[in-house]
Symmetry: C2
């Protein structure tokens, strides 16, 4: 199963693609952090759409994992994040891909073992568990983390027979 993890933002996005067959066999396929082009928000949203379309076209994921909405301290940046996340979801949906949302605490719990893990801790665990040669850029690591969350939870459901694909 190939999972595309997305960490959308209004200035850059992180993407992380993984393949998994079981909990023990999760492999990172590709990851990157993409700076969105344009000084205007609208340009950047279109850039996000184009980049995501290209990633889907190239890597052909079977499902998408994305962090659930959470309220940041700065509400205005949360609103901007909403813009980016909305465009990401619409882009994915337009390509008939299902997107699964995972709450931040769920991601931390799954990847780092506890729901209050710090961002750096989660990112280090991503690198370690995927056995990456170097630390991925922050947003790419976050995208890999949400993809891994889907793989780990999905694989458990697989074994329980509760996974529909």
């Amino acid at each position: 199963m190939r999972v595309l993890g997305i960490d959308p933002g209004s200035r850059k996005i992180g993407i992380g693609v993984i393949d998994y067959a079981s909990v023990q066999k999760i492999r990172a396929v590709t990851w990157k952090q993409i700076s969105l082009r344009g000084s205007e928000l609208v340009e950047r949203l279109l850039s996000l759409q184009d980049e995501l379309d290209a990633v889907i076209e190239t890597w052909k994921p079977e499902i998408v994992a994305i962090e659930d909405i959470f309220v940041r301290r700065n509400v205005r940046s949360a609103l901007l994040l909403g813009h980016a996340r909305g465009v990401a979801l619409a882009t994915v949906g337009r390509r008939q891909l299902e997107a699964r949302s995972y709450a931040p605490a769920r991601i931390k719990q799954t990847v780092a073992g506890h729901g209050r893990a710090g961002k750096d801790e989660v990112r280090s665990m991503v690198r370690m568990q995927l056995d990456l040669p170097e630390q991925p850029p922050e947003d790419a690591a976050d995208a890999l983390a949400v993809a891994m969350t889907h793989a780990l939870i999905g694989a458990v459901l697989d074994r329980a027979g509760g996974w529909s694909r």
Copy 2:
């Protein structure tokens, strides 16, 4: 000049199209409130995109006016609004249309004469100033209000020679 006003939401959107030649000649062309199809957010975002595309295709606006981001009391609904607004902006941008944002206080000031006007007051003024036979649905009235704001401010700039089209 034909302006499309948009009031985007995650469950419904309001649209309002007006034509104007001067401050004295603003005419409502069409308006409606559209309920978005789908129980899932992603479906509704795609529905928003489709509806907006159809409106642009049918009414061929030259410019788009949209309310600026504002923080609602309920932060989660503000985030959802961000999703819808992001998709609306990307849809408009994809069609090479410029979108101008107007702050809520600016809209109230322009349409109702003071920046602290209530929503009902703004909506009544929209009906009165556009000489509509009946009160448009709330979201359609809000969309007409932002389109009017653009027309009124734009028309003033016209006379001052500061309007670029």
